[in-house]
């Protein structure tokens, strides 16, 4: 972890300096983390069992599982490599698109007059209430009419609108924290909304940007319903559909399913590890003061 310089001169690491406090932290946080890790550890354990044998009952036989070939197997059984690529493609396009359109909307919300702002927020929160199951049939008809079925256009269409009113609202609140004076001075300098958004507002909400990026990534990465509804050719399938196919094997083949699940779990986790590192790189808020 890089240590960031503190402009105010305070020591950056504001953890209690007593070693006992530090140990307590690690013990506590460590145990919590361990508990949270258990499902994943179990997943890996099962994924390394030999398929075709009844799953181990109880704690008997804690022999080290070593069926690494399961991972190779699932890539043979299904075009999983293709699915992986497709998932990355769709998610890789969806995340930037979402960040742009959602931050546009969130930023614009802060600049609106109070009356319009209130209305739009209310509508957005109301839109959050709309159940997905109620929407899909109309979407199916709409996308069929637009000729987007069996293309990624149908999957990416929501990204063009910020994907989810939640993200817009999150951006709104992040932008709200920025003191109004900054925008006003920018305006006096002659910057229009676009410049303000791009050069001033965005950099100041990096944590929100990263957070929403992570949430969006996961949302598209694990999306099962929309590919199921809109994609008909196997060459376009994404990872969740591949996993679904693995799920349909019978119980003794669960190690393969778990192997697929591990493959599907890793990219978002790695992304999160990278991103959270940047979360706390610098204290953005205090940077504003200069």
């Amino acid at each position: 972890m890089t240590k960031n310089q503190a402009p105010s001169g305070l020591v950056h690491q504001y953890a209690p300096r007593r070693p006992k406090g530090r140990l307590a932290f690690h013990v506590f946080a460590g145990s919590v983390a361990l508990v949270f890790l258990l499902p994943f550890v179990w997943m890996i354990y099962v994924s390394l069992q030999t398929p075709g044998v009844t799953l181990p009952r109880g704690f008997e036989g804690f022999s080290l599982p070593n069926a690494w070939h399961n991972y190779a197997r699932i890539f043979e059984m299904l075009p999983l490599g293709r699915y992986l690529f497709n998932s990355f493609l769709v998610t890789g396009l969806a995340v930037p698109l979402t960040l742009i359109t959602a931050s546009w909307a969130g930023f614009a919300l802060t600049q609106l007059s109070a009356r319009w702002r209130r209305r739009l927020i209310l509508v957005s929160v109301g839109a959050l209430l709309a159940p997905l199951t109620a929407l899909w049939l109309t979407h199916l008809v709409l996308f069929t009419w637009l000729g987007l079925i069996n293309t990624y256009g149908a999957l990416l269409a929501p990204a063009l609108m910020g994907s989810n009113p939640l993200f817009v609202l999150l951006f709104y609140w992040a932008f709200r924290r920025i003191p109004v004076e900054i925008f006003e001075s920018a305006r006096l300098d002659g910057a229009g909304v676009w410049l303000t958004w791009r050069l001033i507002a965005l950099p100041l909400v990096r944590p929100a940007l990263l957070a929403i990026g992570v949430l969006t990534f996961l949302s598209y990465w694990s999306d099962f319903i929309h590919p199921l509804l809109y994609l008909k050719s196997q060459a376009l399938y994404t990872l969740p559909l591949g996993l679904r196919q693995l799920q349909q094997l019978d119980q003794t083949q669960w190690p393969l399913l778990m192997a697929g699940a591990v493959v599907m779990t890793l990219p978002p986790v790695l992304l999160f590890l990278i991103v959270q590192h940047y979360f706390l790189q610098a204290r953005w808020f205090s940077a504003i003061e200069h």
Binding site: P51, G52, V53, T54, R57, E76, M77, L78, P79, L137, L140, V141, T144, W145, I149, L228, L229, L231, K232, Q234, Y237, L241, R244, Q245, Q248, L249, D250, Q251, T252, Q253
Partner: protein
């Protein structure tokens, strides 16, 4: 014990989850007067359900068809889970894009038939040079007739409920295999003799019987006892379940007692820990009630020898319950002629023989059912004749429009009673009351 099969690689690579050759608008298309000849590149989509073993059978069928009619490609759409399949079916019909050929169970096709969503296949059958109505078992044909519309789908199979039993366990207990004539009492005694606590820890290690507590499983016992599932007055089904009539109730009590009183069936906790079918596959349950569907999976058992026996009888009655699936053609299909050609092939002697070899079906064509494809003396179950012997005694479950809902509610109540979570009379009464509104 299952052995991993390289076949699975092929199976899954070919299967597709969703299908439909085209995204049709939601309005129904009028059936064309003259059907355009199927172009060599047209795809007829064929949607099925089943585990990988069943899928294999349909794969072979499609391959044979493609070989016989080069240029006609069948797009096989496999939805492994039956519940998923039904939901996919409903979604496809609602969106106007069902597959061209769909496999539907006779208990579930009523709503589609009622609303005219299916193309009646009776006229096609009459004109067919390859197959004729007389070639099929009449019970199978009857299952897919719908009032004035006549025959709606072509039946593929005509299975019934039988008792799969583990021969090794019988031998170990010194019991004779079930006779073709055995009674309810014999059945219970056998199950009791096969329910053992082998290590003396107070916990049953081996159960004599495994069975799903559903209406479909209980029905034959109700009929054998002289009761009815739905009250019939003057040959017409009335508007409610007859499960609370004395004879039906008596049969249900007997069925429930298998678990509740005699404990020959795993209780709720044991069933949750490991379900009965898995126990049977692993030699921890001696007898298991199922239809022909289980055969492809059971054929992979290597640890013990097994066979089938008919259901036990009560006095002279031997009723069995019909299980049948049919090939249906949605009315909105744009490839009716090509689809019919496939359906015809699938239900010809050649087609049904292919599927029968997988063990999955009891063929609806008499010729195929009596042939070695089904009665192969070298293929398990050796006693396959049992399926044919029960044919005269088969009865259908009512085919009213909302039958799946009625069945599901009845199943929930029967399950409750079976595991002792509710009193039998109370549960059955609840079933009758709750299902009243679903009858037309």
């Amino acid at each position: 014990m299952k052995s991993s099969r390289p076949l699975l690689i092929k199976l899954i690579v070919i299967q597709i989850l969703l299908g439909g050759c085209q995204a049709a608008p939601t309005t129904q298309q009028p059936p064309p007067e003259t059907v355009a000849p199927a172009t060599p590149t047209s795809n007829v989509s064929f949607m099925i359900f089943g585990d990988p073993a069943e899928l294999q059978a349909y794969q072979n069928l499609v391959k044979a068809y493609d070989a016989k009619f080069p240029g006609e490609k069948i797009e096989l759409i496999h939805i492994p889970d039956q519940a998923d399949y039904r939901q996919r079916l409903a979604a496809d019909f609602a969106a106007g894009t069902p597959a061209d050929v769909v496999l539907i169970n006779y208990r579930r096709f009523s709503v589609l038939a009622e609303k005219g969503a299916l193309e009646p296949l009776g006229p096609y059958l009459e004109k067919s040079p390859l197959i004729h109505a007389a070639d099929f078992y009449p019970e199978a044909i009857l299952a897919f007739q719908w009032g004035r519309r006549g025959l709606m789908c072509i039946p593929q199979n005509i299975s019934s409920l039988v008792v799969y039993y583990n021969k090794d366990l019988f031998q170990a207990a010194g019991l004779a295999y079930p006779s073709a004539d055995w009674t309810w009492d014999d059945f219970l005694a056998t199950a009791q003799a096969l329910t053992l606590d082998q290590d003396g820890d107070g916990h049953t290690d081996q159960h004599g019987l495994g069975v799903e507590p559903t209406l479909q499983r209980v029905a034959p016992f109700i009929w054998q006892n002289g009761g009815d599932v739905v009250r019939i007055e003057r040959s017409v089904w009335t508007r409610e379940l007859a499960l609370d009539d004395p004879l039906a109730l008596e049969a249900i009590r007997w069925f429930v007692a298998l678990q509740l009183t005699h404990h020959v069936v795993p209780n709720a906790v044991d069933e949750e820990a490991e379900n009965s079918e898995s126990r049977f596959l692993n030699g921890r349950v001696a007898m298991y009630l199922n239809s022909r569907r289980g055969v492809p999976t059971y054929r992979t058992i290597t640890a013990f020898d097994w066979d089938v026996a008919p259901l036990p009888r009560k006095r002279w009655r031997r009723s069995g319950v019909l299980h049948a699936d049919g090939y249906c053609l949605p009315a909105v299909s744009a490839h009716k002629a090509a689809a019919w050609q496939f359906i015809e092939f699938a239900n010809s002697v050649e087609g049904q023989t292919l599927v029968a070899r997988s063990g999955r079906t009891v063929p609806s064509l008499k010729v195929v059912a009596e042939s070695p494809a089904f009665l192969d003396p070298a293929a398990k179950p050796l006693n396959s004749r049992v399926f044919l012997d029960t044919l005269p005694h088969l009865r259908m479950l009512p085919r009213v429009t909302n039958w799946p809902d009625i069945e599901e509610i009845a199943n929930d109540e029967i399950e409750r009673a079976f595991y002792g979570q509710a009193d039998v009379v109370e549960a059955i009464h609840a079933a009758v009351v709750r299902t009243e509104e679903y009858f037309p």
